[in-house]
């Protein structure tokens, strides 16, 4: 995302107040906007979500993602595990079969190895196209919406299609309009952006906002980080209360079991051993907690494979990915801190009661 966080970069966003009737917009209208863009501006275009049924090992619905050269070269998110980068120098103006090099996600790589052809009627240009696999993306390559940074879509079952001006001109109004919704204008001035807004308003009847990525961050922070902070504070409060309850119940247990502790101390139990036993016990509880969380996470991730939800299916142990492992690591650290607090308070309390024959009398 930081590649787009530069001065002169503006990211389109349909104003939520703007009325839209797709039926009233035709290709001629969008063409006017693209003509302006092509003549006056440098822009990065990306759009996805065009679902196509093509045979694959996992019977997933495959998503087509379209992007232009500016987006591809700037975003740097399409890391390859095999093959070559995308090429944008092709033409659709041929009588014979059209062949376009594409990148595919790891989930399609067995069915479509490098060099193989995916023959399909493209939903954007509605023509029979031969998509030749030129590269395979690394597992779990993802895309986040520029103004909703928490959103993530994975390319494991996507076909990434390079689009040039000719492709855009040949495509239907759906791709052209969707492309505009997220279009990123680079090296632009405020006045040229205002001019673009007018062109869009005149031809499409839509009100667009163009924000810098900094403004998108602010928007994100206002609506998302604020909520996250609230959730964080509530979670911390709940954790503190639960820790206090756990400590209280442990201390109550000690009061009830002081005779048993004392008898064990008589026959050779030392405080170090007792501390180890307590850490072992609470360690097992924490381990069970982490395992349960892992199972819930794995079920959630694996569920996307089960539901054939191509955009969210991920690779990992049961689909569990790096960010999940980090979250589980955070849980382990947090558990370790709580266990440490509980055990040390318990030991302090136990040591406060002197071992004595008097306890048994």
């Amino acid at each position: 995302m930081k590649q787009f966080n530069q001065s002169g970069v503006f990211i389109a966003n349909l104003d939520p107040e703007s009325d839209m009737n797709m039926g009233e917009i035709d290709k001629n209208d969008t063409r006017q906007v693209y003509d302006f863009l092509n003549e006056n501006m440098k822009y990065a275009l990306y759009t996805d979500g065009f679902i196509v049924s093509i045979p694959n090992e996992y019977d997933m619905e495959v998503s087509f993602a379209y992007l232009n050269e500016e987006y591809y070269s700037t975003s740097k998110q399409f890391e390859l595990s095999q093959g070559r980068k995308l090429e944008f120098d092709y033409t659709l103006d041929k009588d014979e079969d059209i062949e376009i090099p594409v990148l595919i996600g790891k989930g399609l790589s067995k069915t479509y190895p490098i060099g193989s052809i995916i023959k399909v009627e493209d939903p954007a240009i509605q023509k029979q196209v031969n998509y030749r696999v030129s590269g395979i993306l690394k597992p779990n390559v993802k895309h986040s919406n520029l103004y909703s940074l928490n959103s993530k879509q994975y390319y494991n079952f996507s076909v990434v299609i390079p689009v040039n001006k000719e492709f855009i001109n040949s495509s239907n109004v759906g791709l052209q309009l969707q492309g505009l919704f997220d279009v990123i204008v680079v090296q632009a001035s405020e006045s040229s952006i205002n001019e673009l807004k007018d062109i869009i308003s005149t031809n499409l009847g839509l009100k667009f906002n163009f924000y810098t990525q900094d403004e998108n961050f602010e928007y994100y922070n206002d609506f998302y980080i604020g909520s996250l902070k609230l959730i964080g504070v509530l979670t911390a409060l709940i954790c503190i209360v639960l820790t206090c309850v756990a400590v209280w119940s442990s201390l109550a247990s000690i009061r009830l079991m002081i005779k048993d502790f004392t008898i064990n101390l008589f026959v050779g139990l030392g405080y170090n051993k007792l501390r180890m036993i307590c850490y072992g016990y609470y360690g097992i509880l924490s381990f069970i907690n982490v395992i349960v969380l892992f199972i819930i996470t794995a079920c959630s991730r694996y569920g996307t494979w089960h539901r054939k939800d191509a955009q969210f299916s991920t690779y990992g142990i049961f689909g569990v990915i790096g960010m999940d492992w980090l979250a589980l690591l955070a849980v382990v650290i947090f558990d370790a801190v709580i266990v440490g607090i509980i055990v040390e308070i318990m030991m302090w309390k136990i040591k406060k009661v002197p071992i004595s024959l008097g306890v048994l009398q």
């Binding site: 005779k259 048993d260 008898i263 064990n264 101390l265 008589f266 026959v267 050779g268 139990l269 030392g270 405080y271 170090n272 051993k273 002197p354 071992i355 004595s356 024959l357 008097g358 048994l360 009398q361």
Partner: protein, 221 residues
């Protein structure tokens, strides 16, 4: 005769909010291996406190204590725990059993804290329960047993690790005549067969009279 215990307590103070209670002032005791010592005295004289100190349960006193020829002031808590496990047996009142465990589990409790090597030179469980006559109750929980049976189970636990010193705290306090005789006989048998040193805190003069020496503790006001 080898000296097994040599203790010289200058002072033991119990601190409370309002006052300090001083016990066992200038108390000295030497015990030889195989001796049987009875400690008697009125309540509050410090009998149990003395037993706590002798049993390495309490180190908060002014003085010196040599046990098995080792200076206890130079030992850490881990060493204390090890000696309690390996070389000291506690014969306590019948209530000193864990109610959630069976009699067998209670008797074998010291094994939990002994290392593998240390378990080799211990009494055989079956022999002990046969000798003591509690074979029929080993699968029972303490609450299902009589006072006499529980006292014998506590005794069995105390001797499982073949201790060199047995510390008894009112071992016959709640027992009837027959069971009292049994416990006294068992202690005498341990003493005569294994040369085990026995120190008993008791109110019962009949029990005290079965020992080689009687030490009377007085409460100093």
């Amino acid at each position: 005769m080898t000296k097994i215990i040599d203790i010289d307590i200058k002072e033991k103070v119990y601190k409370s909010k309002n006052s300090n209670l001083s016990l066992l002032n200038d108390f000295r005791l030497e015990v030889n291996t195989g001796e049987k010592i009875a400690i008697v005295g009125k309540s509050g004289a410090g009998k149990t406190t003395l037993l706590n100190i002798l049993g390495l349960l309490d180190r908060n006193y002014v003085g010196s204590y040599s046990l098995f020829g080792l200076n206890t002031n130079e030992m850490n808590l881990k060493m204390f725990a090890k000696l309690r496990n390996q070389r000291i047996g506690f014969v306590l009142q019948e209530s000193a059993l864990i109610n959630s465990l069976t009699i067998e589990e209670n008797i074998k409790l010291p094994f939990l804290y002994a290392k593998y090597k240390e378990k080799s030179d211990v009494n055989d469980f079956d022999t002990v329960i046969d000798d003591i006559g509690i074979k029929s109750i080993i699968k029972k929980k303490p609450l299902e047993c009589s006072g006499g049976e529980k006292s014998r189970a506590v005794f069995a636990r105390a001797i499982m690790m073949k201790p060199q010193v047995i510390l008894c705290d009112e071992p016959t306090a709640s027992l009837d005549g027959e069971n009292k005789e049994r416990i006294i006989a068992l202690l005498s048998k341990m003493n005569s067969e294994n040369n085990t040193t026995i120190i008993t805190v008791t109110h019962d003069l009949e029990v005290a009279n079965t020992h080689d020496r009687i030490i009377r503790l007085e409460r100093r006001m």
